[in-house]
Amino acid sequence: MNETLTPAATTEKSQHTRRMTLNMGPQHPSTHGVLRVLLELEGETVLKCTPDIGFLHTGIEKQCEALNWQQVITLTDRVDYLANLSNNLCYSLAVEKLLEMEIPPKAQWMRVLLCELTRINSHLVWLGTHALDIGAMTVFFLCFREREDILRLFEMFSGQRLMTSYIRVGGLALDPPRGWEKRVKTFMDTLPSRVDEYESLLNSNPIWLKRTKGVGRLPVEEMLEIGMTGPCIRAAGIPMDARKMMPYSSYDKFNFEVPTSTDNDVYARYAVRVAEIRESIKIVNQAMAGMPEGPVQASAPHVVLPEREKMKTQMESLIYHFKIVTEGFSVPAGEVFQVIESPRGELGYYVVSDGTAKPLRVHMRTPSFGNLQALPNLIEDRMLADAIAIMGSLDFVLGDCDR
């Protein structure tokens, strides 16, 4: 066993103080998964914090090397189980960059729409569970009510609530189902008032304010250096957002703001995320209004599976279908680091190809891993009760962290 991770029988008694090692997790509800944190306490002050990760390590990067390019999509779903479509998109964009493939506008617009729905979904789960940690239980039920609607939308699009695999290399898996506009629109019309409802429960709640205001501050340079990204860094005043900085999938054609705050505490992270839900609603509405016509898959017969009808009537389509299904497609040798803004921060896929039908290496730079690394800096020398609020504010997903 690793020395630093062994709970020591610490009863170093000085005059009045007694140090205690507290083992939090891996099955603690407020660690949002299986994170183990070793806390060394003096009274209620955390002196030392040692996160222990890896309980959810499933070797996804290794498995990627054994599958062909298109099959890897199903693994990217399982990386961050609250932002499946963002992971699908990031991987697809990376492979499409290697293939130098043009994606039709409708597919790009649909991708933006779905990724923003994913962001709303992820932020709702975060808000519900974070509020629950701090003691506001009603918010949890309300957030999960709306989240259920989003999952039903995902089910309508892809047949799956969570592991969607809807965004594929070359476009989308299927044409959007009939009547999707109406369903999305109905949901989008109700959501703003629902967000007001959450805010009315929290913004003037004295317990919430006491637990979150002024808690969890860290100098912004330190945050950048330790690798924090996403809403946490935006709540510290840096408008770092890949959607604006290096636009992908036509994000440059959408009109939206990047919410920031300079308070740099748990409350600011909450405020930024709620503002992001509102911006996402704006983006979804724009995507619905300006949805282009046309196909949702690129015209690349060696990559995209042919239509069922064509496959049964045309010889070439049958051959392409056979080749893609049996051996996959090969991708020119090269390497690409594709960055997108996932709900949790900077999501990067570093994809290396050696010109064969399977990836040589797929590395995921996941936002949870970077954010969690800052945990000791954030909670050392602070109260134990604040540790829960700070952990919640980082919004990590352990699947995303451990891969």
Binding site: Q63, L224, G334, F337, G348, R361, H363, R365, Q373
Partner: protein, 161 residues
Amino acid sequence: MLPENLKENAVAASLEQADSDLLLGGNTDHNELTLDVVPEKILGALQTLKGQRFERLSTVTVVDRYPMEPRFEVVYHLQSVSRNLYVRLKCRISGEKPEIDSATAVYAAANWYEREAWDLFGVVFKNHPNLTRIMMPDFWEGHPLRRDYPVHGYKYSYQSE
């Protein structure tokens, strides 16, 4: 030596200026700047780039080119938020004795990424403050992301069950 096609590039030129033996080559394929750095001089390269407003280290990872030699590529992705730039540094090190200096002295973020790289590839990062396993259990033998490590592992065989 700086290749011809990178003479115009400000980031590459500044590294060349700092130390003329630092770069081995590079390219800008897919509009992404990649620079091959002499492994012994990686700390110097990171220090120079940090001085040029590359505030954050996005990720450190390894690519295993087994059975080629030099076998491992240690890959660093740096981002400059203020200049809105990414740069990829790459060091090729041998499979015999995979060793490189730890970047933790320059970027604190390298800590967990290097632990992960050591855990999964067996690349040793010299002067790392706590180079222990992070993903695999402490008693694990071998480094699972190496290309010569079977996908299903060594311990189990489904046939024998």
